[in-house]
Symmetry: none
Subunit: 204 residues, 2 copies
């Protein structure tokens, strides 16, 4: 790792890229060889056909999602490994900052997310500030869930955090919460105005 003495803005590293047909076969073959297994063995473990596996490894077919999923499990491939990152997945010697309000905005129906430090694409934590639009609690209907952990800090306003297995948690500015984001969760503003929260999300 060499010191990066550059301007302060991060350089745009490339983000995550799913393996195209090209690389997918190679990766699977490599993984199999690495474990010293035969087509037969892996195919059996994944409950798919020998020939199918052969074709996949040789990129002679565009396998179904289901088949690939079973293969990954059979080969003990962590999913993230399958989705090669084109850039290195570490931020060795790097830094990136975002000035107030200058994050990358991404709006959904109920949230307005401002992604922070997005130049640093290989970071493991995902920090963002969400403006949660005021709305009636009764409107809360959809959980989000994604494997990992999440930390939330209320910057302003009042919110209610709903998570599976727990009763709703009323939160005010300055309060914070940490939870398994694999649980269904969602957040609504319970004050008259929009609320702002800082979220830091960690995958896996």
């Amino acid at each position: 790792m060499e010191p990066v003495l550059t301007e302060d803005e991060g350089m745009s590293a490339e983000g995550l890229e799913a393996p195209d047909g090209e690389t997918l076969g190679r990766m699977i073959r490599d993984a199999r060889k690495d474990k010293g297994m035969t087509l037969e063995e892996v195919a059996r473990a994944a409950a798919i056909g020998r020939s199918t596996l052969s074709k996949i490894e040789n990129n002679q077919t565009r396998a179904s999602f289901d088949i690939i999923r079973r293969l990954m499990q059979a080969l003990d491939l962590e999913t993230p490994q399958l989705f090669v990152q084109s850039g290195k997945s570490d931020i060795s010697g790097r830094r990136d900052f975002t000035r107030k309000g200058q994050g990358e905005h991404q709006e959904t129906r109920t949230y307005d997310h401002e992604l922070l430090c997005t130049e640093l694409t290989s970071k493991r934590m995902l920090p963002y500030i969400s403006t949660i639009k005021a709305r009636d609690v009764s409107e809360f209907d959809t959980w989000v869930r994604h494997r990992g952990e999440e930390f939330m800090f209320v910057l302003s306003g009042e919110v209610t955090l709903y998570t599976e297995h727990y009763r709703p948690l009323q939160m005010k500015a300055g309060d914070s919460v940490y939870y398994d984001s694999g649980m269904g969760h969602g957040c609504v503003s319970t004050s008259a105005e929009d609320a702002r929260v800082l979220w830091v999300s960690l995958d896996g």
Copy 2:
């Protein structure tokens, strides 16, 4: 989906499953709805057919890996989210919160750290609020370094973040920074008063 109102202590969530045909469709539909997009729009973005997308969302087909991959990109879905696997994180189904000012205090010469959500001992991210005592910049002499990544958000006051390889970064309330904590780093208050920052640290 409706909020589950239970006792506050976390019960062990059942293992998260890889998205079998069942859940995959729902996840995609949820993601699409959340973005307020129509089948047409998403299908266009992913370069697939409307009907195909409809079938996928309704679990009426076992889509190919390639199709799913394109969908994820179109929907900005992190891949790991899709491949939720049963290997649960240690805080599986758990939650912990800290009310403003109620964190566990830990004082050093220049900082007053308030650790957040400490009940949840197995969490991977370490969130804490630091009050950085006002002092002269010249006093800054020692760098801290520990393998991992760190995110910092300025809550109030003005601070200067020093990191190896970069020039000092002046920060005000609302600014944030993300950096490799393996680089030497340190933070001082550059305003007359103490500054408060929220830190989230991740090992390894």
